[in-house]
């Protein structure tokens, strides 16, 4: 499907895939409203952003899940086609692979196989799935988020 090397979705070891160019765009589905925070001028809320906490992964995880733009494009899809497919999607953000590499151990393509024992979206195959490789320190997560773009957010106000 691509020149990327498929890495084991269930594996605990990842390597930075040199075939994923720095210009590659990575999408993170934000699936909880508790990580979307208000931006204020004084006490007045003027907007919102996603907390850098959304780029923290479980210590048992090898990476933070993302989807890879060029793989979507090859399937004639865009991030907006994917938006909302995952339950409880509240926002979508993007970062480049170059920015991700600065603040992590790299970027990997980890296509998700079908998981028959699960239900709903979690059961489905996801060939667009990749990961920003952990560990990401708190300061790196903030740096990464300072580079991120909010493509869409459905949590209004505070």
């Amino acid at each position: 499907m691509s020149g990327f090397t498929a890495q084991n979705y269930f594996g605990s070891v990842r390597f930075d895939d040199p075939e994923i160019p720095g210009s590659e765009v990575l999408y993170r589905h934000c699936r909880t409203p508790v990580q979307i925070v208000p931006v204020r001028v004084g006490a007045v809320t003027v907007g919102e952003k996603i907390s850098d906490q959304a780029f923290k992964g479980r210590s048992s995880d090898a990476g933070v899940s993302i989807e890879i733009d060029s793989l979507l494009a090859k399937a004639n899809k865009s991030w907006s086609d994917r938006y909302g497919l995952m339950p409880n999607t509240k926002a979508m953000i993007s970062v480049t692979a170059a920015d991700a590499r600065v603040s992590s151990k790299g970027v990997a393509w980890t296509p998700k196989p079908k998981q028959p024992d699960l239900e709903g979206f979690a059961r489905a195959e996801n060939e667009f799935h990749g990961e920003i490789i952990l560990p990401i320190t708190p300061s790196q997560a903030r740096q990464l988020f300072s580079q991120a773009k909010i493509l869409r957010s459905d949590v209004g106000g505070a």
Partner: protein, 165 residues
Amino acid sequence: VVNSGTSQLKYASMPSPRLLAATFSGALALAGPGTLSSNYELSKIIQTRHAEANRWITSQTNALRQLEPNWDGYDAEPLNPSIILRMETLLGDLLPHEVISGSIVPGADGSLQAEWHFDRASFGLLLEECGRLSCWVRPHEQKEIEEFELAARDLFTSAVITYLA
């Protein structure tokens, strides 16, 4: 009070005299004359007053206690109740009376962060699952400042005074 690097942030180790005076006079008024037998009592009264004033803290932490497994859609575990309690205590200790509400945001790594975002700066107090405390301040278009443990408390106090008081 000193300036930290190129930042205009006032880096103070204690709240401003005006802030302290307002806090202590409020506590004394609440307790009444001659009723304070120790600094401990005074600090507890201040904490209680702050907790009452900053109800957004308990509102948010109560919601965090209700988070279920997979609350982030990526299999995150519920937060450890002790980290929520510690954050409540920290904010009760460090925040003055009635500040602009912040956001208390969980991470899938088990961390909890109180954070504020303004047009001119962002700052936060991060409590990691391992117990490490840090504070970061990022004035608009300036380099981030980060401190840990006791220095994090000082930096957070300074940020509160600079941006919230």
